[in-house]
């Protein structure tokens, strides 16, 4: 993964708006900000302590004027136990890769992370036309404060994260499944939840057809093999 320094070196443009925003967020939240990543001209990420998750939303909305709620979700950083991204043998051959065993160490994305599950959300300032993506680690209890009281739109997004990942939001007054039927077992977007259709019948991969059958032996040995294989050429005098 390219680090922040490398990207700055590639793009000499300095992103003043996002740089100032990052300073402002750090001023407001102090030591609660434990990770940051600035990709100039593209986006800004910060990672906050789990217990400061709701405070981040409150500060962004009330102090910094980020009144637009964009989305909220969760990421499962564990590699899928069903092989690397469920690639088929054809994918691996064509992609020049090998079937890698699941990594021992947990690799997490920009702005870092220590736990398997991470919350991710995004708020936007219409006045400054800039958005900020925030992450927070989720411990074993999978519990985190709800944003629904601050950004009302988060209520549905949290219900989705609840059923898909099993995150329990504290302070959410209507935490039940939104898409899945009541009583559905499992959390489908977790990496260890199998995609049954793919397990039953492997995906053909990058090519949508099966590999061509082996060319018959006589065609290879005959010097005029082309004429026997091509009826048009053979028929013409």
């Amino acid at each position: 993964m390219p680090s922040a320094e490398e990207e700055v070196a590639e793009v000499p443009k300095v992103d003043h708006i996002r740089q100032e925003l990052l300073e402002e967020v750090k001023n407001q939240l102090g030591s609660a900000v434990i990770g940051e990543h600035l990709s100039p001209g593209k986006d800004l990420w910060v990672r906050v302590q789990t217990q400061k998750w709701a405070e981040f939303a409150r500060v962004m909305k009330e102090k910094l004027g980020f009144e637009f709620f964009d989305f909220l979700s969760c990421i499962d950083w564990k590699d899928s136990p069903y092989g690397r991204s469920l690639s088929s043998a054809v994918d691996i051959e064509l992609g020049n890769t090998e079937q890698e065993p699941p990594a021992e160490a947990l690799s997490t994305g920009v702005a870092g992370g220590d736990t398997r599950f991470q919350m991710i959300a995004r708020v936007y300032s219409i006045k400054h036309n800039v958005g900020i993506t925030v992450k927070a680690d989720l411990g074993e209890s999978m519990a985190i404060e709800s944003w629904a009281g601050i950004f009302h739109g988060a209520a549905w997004h949290e219900r989705e994260a609840y059923e898909m990942f099993g995150v329990s939001f504290q302070g959410h007054d209507n935490l039940r499944n939104i898409y899945l039927p009541t009583g559905f077992e499992g959390n489908p977007l977790r990496k260890d939840y199998p995609l049954m259709a793919r397990l039953v019948k492997p995906w053909p991969g990058i090519v949508d057809v099966e590999p061509m059958p082996e060319v018959a032996e006589p065609a290879k040995t005959t010097p005029s093999g082309a004429s026997t294989q091509n009826p048009d050429a053979g028929g013409a005098p």
Binding site: F71, T97, Y179
Partner: protein
Amino acid sequence: MTAQMDPQHAQYVAAQVADARVNVELETEGMTLNIGPQHPATHGTLRIIVRLDGEQVTEVDPVLGYMHRGYEKLAEVRTYPQVTTLINRIDWVGSFANEVPFVLASEQLMDIEAPERAQYIRTILFELGRIANIVLFLGDMGVQLGAVTPMFYALRDRELILNQIESATGGRFHPNFNRIGGVKDDLPAGWLQDTKSAIAKIMSFCDQAEGLIVGNEIFQERTRGVGVIPADVALTYGLTGANVRASGVDWDLRRDSESPLPYDKVDWKVWTHPDGDSFARYWVRLQEVRESCRIVDQLLDSLPSGPIMAKVPRIIKVPAGEAYVATENPLGEMGYYVVSKGGLEPFRVKIRTASFSNMSITPWLLKGAYMPDVVTILASLYFILGDLDR
């Protein structure tokens, strides 16, 4: 029927009338009404459980998921070029627009940019998709109020746009035309001229819709002051697109985001309306179609020559990283948060669809509305079920 009423029966009727008077004075008993999932006003399979007090709505509980297809999970087991086929089906009425943010996010991760001509073709088809989508809304809103005629005009004129999309991409509804690094093909011969005449027809459809619907007294009575959303509430619920612009928020990602699409090269305007009611949402969308026509018209005139594909490897491998790219789709902001761990497939794709956030306001918005207005408010918010359920 006897001319003279039996005295015993007359007494019974009088008692009933007295009872009815008492009932009017006292509070009526609440009633739960189940709208959908097979109801024409819900555009598909949305189910809404409404608690009524007389004609007034006291509680609304939308039930989603009848069309949940799990695209976020399915995208994790497909290669990047295969994902575009899948996400075409999210908003199936303007589906070209679904592909663009995903392809832009992938390009951002790979640090490549499509050539200028490809960006122009993308933008033209993006706007044609918007026209095809919103023209349907302009007709459909009439149906919700009992005026069926505009729907047929909308279907007739939308066909012209679909024909243009089909002749360029091969698909009427699911173009699958975007490639990482450009577009699949160049535009066919004579396409520019045909598109121009189709655009002219859409412009005249807009005038027709304005006369038939916006100027209609019944339409105004039913929509003005109904379903009012204040700007701050709209933003906290995450409303986007015409829904938030109808509440007076001057914000359009086409103009306001750092996008490689050439929206800054043409002259167009973002329309807003201060009222925030159902009428304003209709009016803003009508203006949006006109602006889209203007954008397409100008882009067709200034279409640059050059390649349509950047140099990309045959097997697309995206370096590790994360990117969120959103565009202003017909229904509002649609964005893809793509997480790559460096493989052939995305590690995680979070799809932010406009309808999901737009509809999350309904429990708040429909509270206190009258039952006949529920249908018009839902229609004016404009959602596509595929976009809502993903």
